[in-house]
Symmetry: C2
Subunit: 263 residues, 2 copies
């Protein structure tokens, strides 16, 4: 890279676009693009076979992690940034000097439910850390994918970081109407289980064969009554008496494990 | 509270002590005391029957949460703080104007292992958020308690926050020698299972009757070979191929669930 090819100004059009995609949901939605930050996520995306539209790289990060040059080769375009500019753009505490812009349509998409599928249904999961953590767990445990309704934006930088690349391999679909999806799952023979606190049906009901889906609600408000009632059954993790509670991602993880372990 | 009883200076001896207990591990260790911050944790401690040595309270927080006056009554001593002083002392983003100082010996203590007990063994779990999350899950799922060896300090403000009060009800013991504990558990008939990535024994081996313990290692380095070899068996959560991994607290939670669900 010759010095005169290194962008130092925040006013550069490539940099303005990167900045907008990092910070504005609207920019991501209008363009259909999203951004990965950091060597680990960016390299993971390439290894997962996602197409990269553009890579933003500092010379320093390419020297430190030579594999990033392969990333630049795989991408349609490479923009070289000065280290100080990259540090000012980044959202992470320790700037890593590499960003990748990807089309959202490159992510694996979940299609119509199959009769013997194992699905995760997420309704109004709004905390980015929880959503990312749940998607990371779902990708690791397996299953056929997750349907999201009215959740945090799954291609926001925070969710992407918390998902640790799980989103690159977990088929996802965003749906507008969770009640309609529950009915559709039921029609194809997939049993739906609403996660709730204090119920009497233990998670072991999720074990065994057949199509199944676990429905997880909002961290604070849980699930609306009509959605819960539309499901095949309600499922609860038994808690010791006291003020105990499980973190939302932990509860979702245990239910997914019960659903997927024998499949 | 009359105005002249409200402490405004950081130089006040009570405040200096609170500040040291919040910020210095050494001060906590030497005094055998620790600090809770925030109404939720403080009230939870009282409801769990823990003895409170001293409460630090702002008039504003007592007006907002009248239950805190019961806390002040239950405590041996109450120190009233000005709102600005309380805000400067606090570690949380939104200062809540209440702190409680407790003796560490008031926490439930885990004694000798029982032949039919279900235990969690934590070795070098160093991330405070992970440790607190694991203790929260262990308290919620039940079981007989956790043995900690060379972990993050369990009465540090960060671990206490992440544990969400679970530590008030989960019997704990800190041990110096995990290998000796594994041998002791084995001697009384408790099977020990070392959590590891990539092994072939699935978590279902943890189900069923009898005394059991799951051993969780460091987030980055896992468990040392000699500790793993000393256990009855190694247990791994099967992962989908790819770069998938589970968060340490999530993996611990799934293993605890498998161990405890049928007990």
């Amino acid at each position: 890279v010759t010095e005169n090819k290194i962008v130092t100004s925040r006013e550069n059009p490539h940099v303005k676009r990167l900045d907008a995609l990092l910070r504005q949901k609207k920019a991501r939605e209008e363009s259909g693009l999203f951004v990965l930050e950091g060597a680990r996520l960016c390299l993971d995306a390439v290894q997962s076979g996602l197409s990269i539209e553009c890579v933003y790289l500092t010379r320093e990060s390419a020297e430190k992690t030579p594999a990033l040059l392969n990333l630049a080769e795989a991408a349609g375009q490479t923009v070289w940034l000065s280290e100080s500019l990259a540090g000012r753009l980044g959202e992470t505490k320790t700037p890593q000097g590499v960003f990748a812009v990807l089309p959202a349509c490159a992510l694996p998409r979940l299609g119509n439910p199959k009769p013997d599928g194992r699905y995760l249904l997420l309704y109004q999961v709004r905390d980015p850390g929880n959503l990312g953590g749940i998607l990371r767990t779902a990708a690791a445990l397996g299953g056929d994918g997750a349907y999201l309704c009215d959740c945090a934006e799954h291609v926001s930088p925070k969710v992407l970081r918390a998902s640790m690349g799980g989103i690159f391999r977990l088929p996802l679909a965003v749906v507008d109407d969770m009640a309609a999806l529950v009915a559709r799952l039921s029609n194809v023979g997939v049993q739906t289980f609403a996660a709730a606190g204090g119920g009497t049906t233990a998670p072991q009901v999720l074990a065994g064969q057949g199509g199944k889906a676990v429905l997880i609600g909002n961290e604070g408000n849980g699930l609306p009554d009509d959605l819960t009632a539309a499901c095949t059954a309600t499922v609860s993790i038994p808690m010791k008496t006291g003020n105990e509670s499980l973190n939302a991602a932990m509860a979702a993880g245990i239910l997914m494990w019960e659903m997927i372990k024998d499949s």
